[in-house]
């Protein structure tokens, strides 16, 4: 039995058996880890609020030979997202961000950049930011870190550098230059292209404190959503619920 101690962020938990919880958390060095937290559902549990979704914790766990799930020995809270989770939109957005990361991060491999994205974006939700901008930021960056977001610099067909406006080919799910563009390509507005650049070069808290028109953010999210869905073959489970609370 090997003992690990590391910083982590809780992605997802679900009740298991009478008093236990299954917890999936993201660590910088070992990616996604799934573990049992025995007795965590009890009202007097020693884990307290440390195993609530999106809590940043210092976790101690034991790996057990031939078992898929580790055993969580200790979890101390470093930062709770609870203050943000008392707001309806922030709470659902946080869950959606966690699902996004849970979907694309893998187990076992280092995930330092994904960890940093999750850490900074959830921390941003605790401040006075535009929640939709944080969501768009995570959607675009997650696809980038997963190597799925296509190049906005060179044409996917001929490799030549592209100018503005950008064109997106829906069939090939990539950006394409004017001369290669077919009927399947549509023009991306320069506002949206500017946001893609800003997302790529600005820390999330700073990005989400700028004023951006809702229509532009919606377009950025639609573009990321189209790339994500075509890669996954389905939509994330919390997507619709987030859309329904944002629309209010």
């Amino acid at each position: 039995m090997k003992l690990e101690r590391t910083e982590a962020i809780v992605l997802h938990t679900w009740p298991s058996r009478e008093r236990d919880k299954m917890v999936v958390f993201l660590t910088p060095d070992h990616g996604k880890v799934k573990g049992w937290a025995y007795g965590a559902r009890g009202i007097r549990s020693r884990f307290g609020a440390a195993l609530e979704p999106l809590a940043k914790i210092r976790v101690g766990y034991a790996e057990r030979e031939s078992e898929e799930a580790v055993r969580i020995e200790s979890a101390e809270l470093i930062r709770s997202l609870f203050p943000a989770q008392q707001n309806l939109v922030s709470s659902i957005a946080a869950t959606y961000i966690a699902e996004t990361v849970d979907t694309f991060a893998s187990s076992g491999d280092p995930a330092e950049l994904i960890y940093r994205l999750l850490d900074r974006s959830t921390e941003a939700l605790l401040g006075d930011v535009a929640v939709q901008s944080v969501v768009a930021y995570v959607e675009v960056w997650m696809l980038r870190l997963a190597g799925i977001f296509p190049s906005t610099k060179n044409c996917m067909q001929c490799g030549e550098p592209m100018g503005r406006p950008l064109r997106f080919d829906v069939k090939q799910e990539g950006f394409i230059c004017e001369s290669c563009a077919t009927r399947d390509a549509f023009v991306i507005s320069n506002d949206v292209a500017d946001e893609l650049v800003a997302i790529g070069s600005t820390p999330v808290a700073e990005y989400a404190s700028r004023a951006i028109s809702p229509a532009t953010i919606f377009e950025v999210r639609s573009l990321a959503g189209s790339i994500r869905r075509s890669f996954l073959g389905h939509e994330l489970k919390s997507f619709e619920v987030l859309a329904s609370v944002i629309a209010r």
Binding site: I43, G48, Q86, N87, L88, I92, T95
Partner: protein, 162 residues
Amino acid sequence: MGEAEALAHAILEVKERIIRCTTCNNMTDVDPCAICSDPRRDPSVICVVEEAFNIPTIEQTRDFKGMYHVLLGALSPLKGIGPQDIDVAGLVKRLSPGGVHEVIVATNPNVEGEATASYIAQQIHPLGIRITRLAFGLPVGGDLEYADQVTMSKALEGRREI
């Protein structure tokens, strides 16, 4: 009829008799349920819970004499359960004739319960009815030393005069 068969029939019969109260969504064999039809209870206070099985826990205390409303779940984005999938509309409908002066939200003290409470508050605020949330106390028998920052700050928020 064999013993096993008799038991199966009995279970089936019980299952058939159990319905949802059309007023509060509680599990019952008569409609409205025993709580909704009890004239000694105070109809001006409604306690909102996630599931019918939460009601006995509150009833045990004998401190609450008002009515209940069962949401039939909590907001749970990962299960695709959104605002339309829990019965907040039924609650709002019960409030609109007037006569209710307080809604106590007793959803679970976790992320999903909080999001649900926040949604209910959003829907009820325009009606001008007092809305309260169950205090997140410190567990009795626990030690202050072991309370984490969330539990402690919620306990501070819910403090009362002594």
